[in-house]
Symmetry: C2
Subunit: 339 residues, 2 copies
């Protein structure tokens, strides 16, 4: 019997510079096969998500409150796979599970590390990789978006942003404006996701467009970018606007203008803008709230799962990490591996 | 009968530069005496407050949401005076009133512009000029300070900051740390106002001192300064710390480092720091809440009215405006005029 040596993506060195593409420090290698211990399962991965935060965790230090990736070891990220060998009674062979040990063909996981995917809630298991939970929490609990709101979403064609913008519409916002890079993404936001307007940060004058689109100011802002887009949002904030901040992509990409904006305190104080940064760690209550609403909104056609689906192997995911940071993709970036 | 021509402070030109002392654009002039119309009173002023915001309102434009001072007209600010001529039945001669038309010997005021000072609540009418209302609102409603909190206050020897720090102690905070400029102010904060510790921003290393004084991080921050002091507070914020922001003195003084800090979004998001700028406009409920608590706390010796009392005439107030922006005074700066 020949033993299949599964492949995995290993960190060869820490990144040292935001302009350095992640692919320069990553390598696909084969590893000795790993047997599950008692209570563990061996999973063959079907889908893997490529997320911006992974680029940060390749540096020697990161402000993201999880351990950085270690040199010489596989990196990790969200994935979905099928149990192919089980020593855990509640996860028999064939169970489809969500886990955080992607970036490898096979993952060995214990209890608390693998979460069976519920049947029938989603059109396919990969839908669990959408970033609806932080988007829902940010729009509903943090920005408190409701009927009549004028909402601005940065990174609106991205994984979290596309969900946030659609959830704002589903909650009854009067106007939802998305910021994205390039005319193709902007058309997508309006024509396919149903946003009221889109601003192209590569070619449009943000201030001019916001003055035209939100003459009374924006009442809520969902920010995944930071930097100059945050600064523009504050200039156009209505009194007592609510800002939900969950990302700093502007600070995570080479050539960006830095994720850390200048905070104009005079304006913030005069307008009493509530600024609430929040972490995208999920609580079970947040997951439950999102799943409940998502199923209904999806069935009603009010929410689409914005994604870019790429076909494996693992080397494709490595390239996709570079492309994601360059703004090349729309929505959640998911790599599918041949079954 | 000779007619007394009351004097007033008039704006001669707009300020153009933060390094320009306000006294350069102000002039004390005499004006023709003004008779009260029906429903108005003529007030002879007893006390006047000198506040930082006045320096901003001398520019041609200001972000503070009140109209800027007009060239050729008297400037204004909080004052207390005695009614010397009355055509308003509810404010007979002798009534002591609080109003916003200071910077002049006499003010003519209508209903809604003059507020009789309640008897017996305060040791003297000038106590109404303390800045307890925004301090109370910021500490209690915005930063939600309670038992066990580790509280940092910037501008802690100033009018608002000194009140905020004492209110935090009275609310049961475990540790209250004040930032001020110079050893004399720092001693005052600890020895006379009862703060747990003081940091001298002119000579201390903010990070080093905060690491020593708040090893577990600060749970609440009351900011009247902005700039690099805000940035340091964020570096030392505990998870879910509450920031109440009501001033940007660092941006209002020449030679300061600018009031507008860099907002480190990575840190703010990872720690979910709630950032709430708030305006110091008062609501009747806020005034009532503060007066109720103040009387008790003052009687118990838990709150002192931090002030610098200067003796008039009006030219002294003009000089005090320069001195205030240079950080020369402690607490509320009040000018008393000879009765």
């Amino acid at each position: 019997m020949t033993v299949h040596e599964p492949s995995a993506v290993v960190l060869r060195a820490h990144r040292t510079d935001l302009t350095q593409p992640p692919s320069e420090v990553l390598e696909v290698v084969t590893l000795p096969p790993q047997e599950p211990d008692a209570g563990q399962v061996r999973v063959r991965n079907l889908f893997q998500q490529v997320i911006a935060a992974s680029g940060d965790l390749m540096f020697a230090t990161s402000q993201i409150p999880v351990p950085v990736f270690r040199v010489g070891e596989p990196i990790s990220g969200p994935a979905i796979g099928t149990v192919v060998e089980s020593r855990a009674g509640d996860m028999p062979v064939g169970t489809v599970v969500l886990h955080m040990s992607g970036w490898r063909e096979e993952s060995v996981l214990g209890r608390g590390e693998a979460f069976p995917v519920p049947d029938g809630v989603f059109p396919g298991p990969e839908y669990l990789l959408n970033q609806g939970v932080p988007a829902y929490h940010g729009i509903v609990d943090i920005a408190e978006v409701g009927e009549g709101d004028v909402v601005l979403v940065s990174g609106a064609a991205g994984g979290v942003g596309s969900m946030a913008a659609q959830i704002a519409k589903a909650r009854g916002a009067a106007t939802v404006i998305g910021i994205a890079g390039g005319p193709e993404k902007c058309r997508y936001l309006v024509d396919e996701l149903g946003l009221d307007a889109a601003i192209d940060h590569r070619s449009d004058d943000l201030d001019e467009r916001l003055t035209a689109l939100a003459p009374g100011g924006i009442t809520a802002f969902f920010d995944t970018i930071g930097g100059s887009q945050f600064e523009a949002a504050l200039r156009h904030a209505a009194p007592r606007a609510r800002f939900a901040l969950c990302g700093t992509l502007a600070g995570q990409i080479g050539g960006g203008d830095g994720g850390h904006p200048r905070l104009d305190l005079m304006t913030a104080i005069a307008r009493e803008v509530r600024i609430r940064p929040f972490s995208t760690r999920h609580t079970p209550e947040q997951i439950e709230a999102w799943n409940t609403h998502y199923a209904r909104w999806y069935a009603e056609g009010r929410i689409r799962f914005a994604r870019t689906l790429l076909e494996g192997p693992l080397q494709r995911a490595v390239a996709a990490q570079d492309e994601l940071l360059a703004g090349a993709h729309r929505g959640n970036v998911i790599v599918r591996f041949a079954g």
